[in-house]
C-alpha cells in the first residue's frame, strides 16, 4: 500500500474537469485508488466520487493506492495534483 498527503493548489479546487482528469489517470492503473478528505473516502477512479469530495484550494487530500502497480499510480496521480490539474 502506498499513501501520500497532498494539498490542492489550483484556484478552483477539484471541480468537474480536474475530477475527470484524475479519474481518467487512475483508471489507467490496475491498483485500487482511494482519495480521502476529512475522513470522507471516495473511489479515485470515479469522477462523480471525486466531485463529491468538494476539495477547494488549500484543502488537504490523501491518495492511497493498493495493488501491483501502486508505485507508478501514486507517482502519476501525485503529479497531477501537484501540478494543479494542468491549471498551472
Amino acid at each position: 500500500m502506498k499513501e501520500v498527503k497532498l494539498q490542492i493548489k489550483n484556484k478552483l479546487g477539484i471541480h468537474a474537469r480536474p475530477a475527470m482528469l484524475f479519474a481518467q489517470t487512475a483508471n489507467q492503473f490496475e491498483c485500487d485508488v482511494y482519495v480521502t478528505k476529512d475522513d470522507f473516502e471516495v473511489n479515485g477512479k470515479s469522477v462523480l466520487g471525486l466531485m463529491m469530495l468538494v476539495a477547494p484550494q488549500g484543502s488537504e487530500i490523501t491518495i492511497r493506492c493498493e495493488g501491483p502497480d501502486e508505485e507508478e499510480a501514486i507517482k502519476a496521480l501525485s503529479k497531477i495534483v501537484e501540478e494543479g490539474f494542468g491549471e498551472e
Binding site: N10, R17, M20, N43, L48, M51, M52, V54, E88
Partner: protein
Amino acid sequence: MKSSQELKLKGIPISPGILIAPVKVIRKEKVKIKEKILRSDTEIEAEINKFLNGIEELKRILLDLRRETQEQNLKVLLDVQIAILSDQDMQRDVITHIRNKRRNVESAIFYVLNSKKEALSKQESSYFAERARELERLAWDLISVINKSYTIADYNFDGIIVVESLSIEEALRIIKSSVKGVITEKGGRTEHSAIILRNFKIPAVFGIERITRLVDDNDIVILDGGKGVVIVNPMESTLQRYHLIKEGYERYESELVSEKELPAITTDGKEIGLFANIDVPEEVDELLKTGKYGIGLFRTEMIFREYAENEEAQYKIYLEIAKKIYPNSVTIRAFDIGGDKLYSDYQEENPFLGLRGIRVLLDEPAIFEKQIRAVIRANELSNIRFMLPMVATVEEVVEAKKLFIQAKKMLEKEYQKVNQPRFGVMIEIPSAVLLLEHIADIVDFVSIGTNDLTQYTLAVDRKNQRVSKIFDHLNPAVLKLIKMTTDVCREKNILVASCGEITSDPYGVVALVGLGVDELSCPPSRIPEVKSLIRRINLQEAENIASEVIKFSSSREVKSAIKNYIKKIMPELLEFYD
C-alpha cells in the same frame, strides 16, 4: 389553460427575424418516473441491458456533438458528461439498485443520481449548485434516451421550439438542426444560448411566461424576434398583416446583404471602423461568414471559468482568433469578473460598487499576469489590442500598465521577440471620463462601454425592474460624457471606440457617429444593419444633431430629434425595431 383567443405576449428580443410557423413544445421536466417492481430475473436482466445500452447511446450522442463543436469550453463540458456516464461506480450503483431492490431502470437512475445531486446541492458554493443542476439534466437525458423520448429528434422540427429554458448544448443542437426559431420562458439577452442563437440568425424571443402551457404542438404562432413579440392563436387578419411585415423584413434583410462587401463610410466620406463583440470563440467563424470584420470586444469571462490559471491554453485560444481575424484587429478585454459576473461566493452588499473588473485583477496579480502573458505572446501578427475593464482611477491604469510592461520584458527574455499589443481602457465609470486627460497619456486607445457608463451615471441597476425604466443610454447626461471622451481623445490623438448595447441601437449609432467615435463594435448579427445606417449618415448632419441633442434635457427629446433624421435617411429601419 389553453385559450383560443389571440394573445399578444411581450418578451425579451433575443434574435431578430419574423416567423409564422408551427410550434413544438418541449417539456423536459415533465417526464414522469413510474416506479415498477420487477417480478422475474429475466425482467431484471432486461432492465440492466436497457441501462447499459442507454449509456452507450447517450455517450454516442454527446460524442457526436463534441465532434461538431469548435469551442474548447464546450468540449470540456461535454467531456465531463461523457466521463460521468462512463463512471464505473455510478454504473455499479444503478445496476445494484435494479438487482437488489428489483426496481426498473428509470427509478434506479433517478435514485442514484439524485442522491449525488442532493449531496452537491448542500454545498454552499454556487459552483456546486450548478454542477448539481447539470447532473440532474444528465440523469433526465439518460432516462429519456432509455425511454426513447430523447429530445434530439425534436430539434429536427421544421418550426419553432418552445421550451422552458435553453442550455448551451441545446442551442448548439438547434443551430445544426432545421429548427427555425425559439421561444423560452426563462433567460436573458446575455445568456450564452441567446448569443449563439443571435449569431446563427435563429429568430428568438425569451422570457415569455408560461408559454409552454399556452401553446400545443403544431399551433401556428407568430414570432417577431426584433420586437420580442409572440402572438398565440393569431386571428386571420393578424396573420395577413404579419405575412406582409415578414415579406418587407426579408426584402430589407436582402438589401442589407447586398452591401456586405462595401465599407462603413458616411455619405461625406468618413470611414467608421465596424467591429464585432464576441463572447465565445465559436462565434468567430460565424462572424467571418458575415464579412471580413475585426473584433472590437472579445470578452474573456468564459475563458476565465476554465482557464484562469492556464496561460498556455489562453495563449492558444487568443492566437487562433487573432490568426483568423487577421489582417483586422482583435480587442481582448481582460477578465471582467465581479459585479453581476461574480465568481467567488463572497457576497457583497453592493457588488456593482464592489470588487470587480480591474480591481479584481490588481487584487489577483497572479491570474492577471497569466492573462497578460498569454495576450502578449499571442500577438504574433501584431493585430491584438488589450483593454482593462472598469477603470475608475489613474492609479489603477498606472499599476496595470506596469504589470503589462514587466510581463513584456520578461517575455522578451524568454522568447527574444514579442510584439507589444496596443494597450487601452474601457470608459464606463464617469470618473474615468473626468480623469481622461491623465489616463490618455498612458494608453493607446479607449473604448466606451455604454451599458456600465449609463448605469453608473444614472445610478440605476437596469436589472432591477423597479428602476430599469430610468436606464437609457440616450440620456443627455450619458451623451455629454461621451462627448467629453471624444474631445479629449481628439486632443490627445488617441483612438476612441464604443462597444455597449448603444451600438446596436440605430439612435445610438447616429449619436455616436455625430459625437466623433471612430469605431463601433456590436453583436455580429447587427453589423449589416449598422453598416447600412452608417452608409446613409452624413457626418456633418450627424455632428449638428449631436451638438444639438447634448443640450436637451431628456432622452425623449434626444430620441425624437434622431428619429426625424433616421426617418429621412433610412425609414425602413423604424419599421422593424422598437
